[in-house]
Symmetry: C2
Subunit: 576 residues, 2 copies
């Protein structure tokens, strides 16, 4: 049986940065070659970053990507890496636009491609067949599907190549791997993290490997790109379902593994399939030890996703530091801990902004947090800034309460404008769901680290993070009191969240049913919740869509995040 | 030749309000029946409103829509209107979900349907074949395409029925109208207004009528729904290309017209087509005079779109009034005039918020505007509110300038919280494009009336609105000085927009090329613009995506509005 040394490169591309992204691939190729690899595969759209959204409809952008692929082929050759076959993902085009109707708007003129580079040339190209257009994906909007299978003959083996969603569809190109008698199936991916997704992804890869009796090599990009975090977790599974190699999550990594694959046959190819023969790579190498990473538990995965999502947003957008308000509460404490893990405490600025309603513990808990983490810490009392506004406008009730939150927003934005920090907004998913926040107040900021984290999970993460510090002999970052005390916005005396909202256990469960599962009112009630509570909560959710539309982006960790995952009208008059 | 009396009902649905929307259809049916119509058609999704976005993936919502159609059929019958055949648009389902891959997210389980109601029953149903998934449309995401043609036999004539995008595609179901030998083609639509779209839409209807030698009846909904404004403009064109009837734009209307159509033949139907025979309506009626509306000029159409977009956002979301800052400048003046035209001056609150940098004319121009329009007017000086913040935070430069804008935002939000007004934000498309605004400052608000109007067009609209007042012997609303003076944000002494930006004629032309036409940097330069200016402007556009994401919605009037029309990443590092 032919033995191939396969390298899977988890790179961290930035959308649009064709030079930087190519440089990462070149570096991976150097390392792969040094380890004697025959074939290197990097992720879907590793050249352009993913998702490129409507950049796919700009002919100039497509031309740049096209040229970047040819340039990379030449650079590989010039660097003495020409023997290595390199599979890279990128958009290509422009092609004849897909027919559309009423609008003058740009439409699909691109394909989602995998190109094979060797000896300075683009030896072969495959275009993705199945274009996901659900959840956060808009690929049918921007891409034209391919319909041609590609088989690479290398070292006496036949390697089939597909892209991401192609693997998921029964009866898609994956079904034709048997037809073309391939010995190895390479799948390049840009698959964003979701809690529990690896409970679906690995079984799928395994099932496809067994179904086709073929080794499957799955490579995914990593990194934060706006509201998505790609987790890597590249894996190689053989035709018996055994995991041969697995890369760690959320880090750049080169996974190198030897695979024994069945020899190529001279079976005639079916229609709509092309076979391209590549030059052989280096001769046989001594057998290699490889990585078999083990996934950490759920809370650690989520934490890592939030950390990487924030770090990459900061770095990829040219910031050096972040600033956030520290209220002494659990949300801002968790956000500060995430920020310190992402950037180092030295790049985190925390501001305590007490009002006349702030409790003593809100100040002392914030002090303790700042001390534990070692971040930059200052205090700006707001009473003297709020009073003139309340007085001049004669504000009372909620109108007055909101001024406190909005003055805090002005302070954070003022310091950001002065010192260049990215402002973090610390609202959690539960708050966003029911609109329990002051727009242009505590919602102020460019990035929302825990936007997709429900309140109950915020507490879990805080406990997990503290335990993990303790187990390493470090100071737990989050003050115990911030975790234990009843949550409060502290906009009036003795206020608690539960004055306005149901208990968080019940609230989060209703939101899970109404938002994540998209159940209707009746179906939520049928789960056993109180009718009035369901009506109260669902009405809040519907009425706060306008606030969510104006909210900052933040990392998606669930199967249904706010943003492009859940597209609903603001103007909506449900029949109740 | 059979003669049919055809009624096209331009209704104004609210998304989700199945009862209210059905009531509008029932009212149209009463009027159509009173005028002896055989057939009434209302728009695409007239039952549910359009676009329903991901509501289409909620089984409970689909069940409600399904039931609403049957309920309407019964109500028509109970009202003695059972003889009238009524064509209504609505989503239907749930059907077997379309296959998807990686996500647990809801996917397409619905179809975009036209149902034919008669005698208390749903006599026939058609499902849209072509699902637009470009521009603002996400139909491939949420709908499963239909593949069956429907022919209605009524009064000896055969009537084919299709939905919106089906008309636009060559080789789609419209091509089969000849195949099935129909005498009339009814198209129900939810087609949003864009400048110049009727220069495409009417020629298309005419071309299809001539190609198929069939009378085409095109009916569109009206009304504002979030960022879309549906303009009606329903029209009937015969097989020779003659316009037989045309409804006015932007108003609810029942267009009734007699059409002579070729008699049904006994030709065998092709595969994938169904013929349903309906009961005949009333006997022959005396011939009828009909409407032949004439479209107003471009600026009046745009003005009407902005007025209806704002009015419907206010009413459909339960507001009674609006509030906005009046700076004396052209943008706020035009927004105030739109608001007064939409709601009446009595529902418009204007606030002048002078700072220490405000010129005398900024106050006097705002005074004159308020006087001309007759809106509620008050003044809140900001100096005493800004100073404590500047002093405490030691802010200077842009950081200090932004505080002025943000205090104004707090004032408007405070008065809104107190009095219940919707806050309007008055930024124009040019400002939004280059980020020339203070986020959480002048961007504060729930609706942005001129969000899709470039600065040059703002001036044109102001002049047109004043001229139109003059021609009716009314007071022109917008002070001449607001139109003529150089635009300024007045955040520092003697500031003008052109300190920071190229002249607006040039800026708007570059933005048209880069944004609307989606040209790349090189292609924009090749149009003859200065390289440095193009680099300066395109960089500003790319860097302000994060601000636009947090901006209020506003009515789309162009082929490329911000929002779902133009989907681009925030994190984007272009190769320059």
């Amino acid at each position: 049986m032919p033995r191939l040394r396969l390298a899977l490169g988890q790179t961290n591309p930035v959308v649009g940065d064709l030079v930087g992204n190519s440089t990462q691939i070149l570096a991976a190729a150097h390392r792969a070659s040094a380890q004697g690899a025959d074939l290197l595969a990097v992720g879907e759209m590793a050249i352009s970053g993913y998702p490129i959204e409507d950049l796919a409809s700009r002919p100039s952008f497509l031309a740049e990507c096209h040229n970047a692929v040819y340039k990379l082929a030449k650079e590989l050759q010039d660097a003495g890496l020409g023997d290595l076959a390199v599979i890279v993902g990128h958009p290509d085009g422009p092609f004849e636009p897909r027919l559309t109707g009423t609008s003058n708007a740009p439409t699909a003129i691109a394909q989602n491609c995998a190109s094979v580079l060797q000896h300075g040339h683009v030896a072969a190209r495959y275009a993705k067949h199945h274009l996901p257009n659900y959840s956060v994906f808009d690929e049918y909007r921007i891409f034209i599907p391919g319909d041609e299978l590609l088989v690479l003959r290398i070292k006496g083996a036949d390697v089939a190549l597909i892209v991401c969603e192609d693997l998921w569809r029964d009866g898609g190109p994956v079904a034709r791997v048997l037809e073309v008698d391939a010995g190895l199936l390479v799948v390049i991916n840009a698959s964003p993290f979701e809690r529990d997704k690896n409970e679906v992804r690995l079984p799928l890869v395994t099932r496809r490997a067994i179904e086709t009796n073929t080794t499957v090599a799955y490579v995914n990009i990593i990194g934060g790109q706006d509201d998505l975090v790609f987790d890597g977790d590249s894996v190689v599974v053989d035709g018996a379902g055994t995991i041969l190699a697995r890369a760690p999550q959320f880090v750049e990594h080169l996974l190198v593994v030897d695979v024994e694959v069945s020899a190529a046959t001279e079976a005639k190819l079916p229609d709509s399939a092309t076979r391209v023969t590549l030059a052989d790579g280096p001769g046989q190498q001594p057998a290699l030890a490889t990585d078999l990473a083990i996934l950490p538990e759920d809370r650690e995965q989520v934490w890592n996703a939030l950390v990487l999502g924030l770090r990459d947003y900061v770095h990829k957008n040219g910031f050096r530091s972040v600033i956030l308000g520290l209220s002494g509460g659990i949300d801002s404490a968790v956000c500060a801990a995430i920020a310190a893990d992402a950037l180092g405490a030295d790049r985190v600025w925390g501001v305590s902004m007490p009002s006349r309603y702030s409790s003593d513990h809100s100040r002392s808990d914030a002090d303790e947090l700042a001390e534990n983490i070692g971040l930059h810490y200052s205090t700006e009392a707001i009473a003297d800034l709020v009073l003139p506004i309340e007085t001049q406008l004669e504000l009372t009730g909620t109108a007055a309460e909101n001024v406190q939150a909005r003055i805090r927003g002005i302070i954070l934005m003022g310091l950001s404008n002065l010192e260049g920090h990215l402002v973090l907004t610390t609202g959690n998913k539960t708050e966003l769901s029911v609109g329990y926040s002051t727009i242009y107040g505590d919602s102020v900021g460019g990035f929302a680290p825990i936007k997709d984290v429900p309140k109950m999970l915020v507490w879990e993460l805080a406990r997990w993070r503290n335990d993990s510090a303790t187990s390493r002999g470090e100071v737990p970052p989050i003050p115990a009191n911030s975790i234990e005390k009843p949550p409060s916005a502290e906009l009036r005396p003795d206020q608690t969240d539960q004055d306005s909202l149901p208990p968080y256990e019940i609230l989060d469960a209703i939101l899970e049913a109404y938002i994540t599962k998209a159940l209707g009112r009746e179906d939520v009630i049928n789960l056993g919740f109180d009718t009035d509570t369901v009506d109260f909560v669902t009405k809040l959710v519907d009425h706060s869509e306008w606030k969510r539309r104006q909210g900052a982006i933040g990392p998606k960790i669930s199967g249904m995040a706010f943003g492009r995952d859940r597209r609903l009208p603001i103007t909506y008059r449900p029949t109740r």
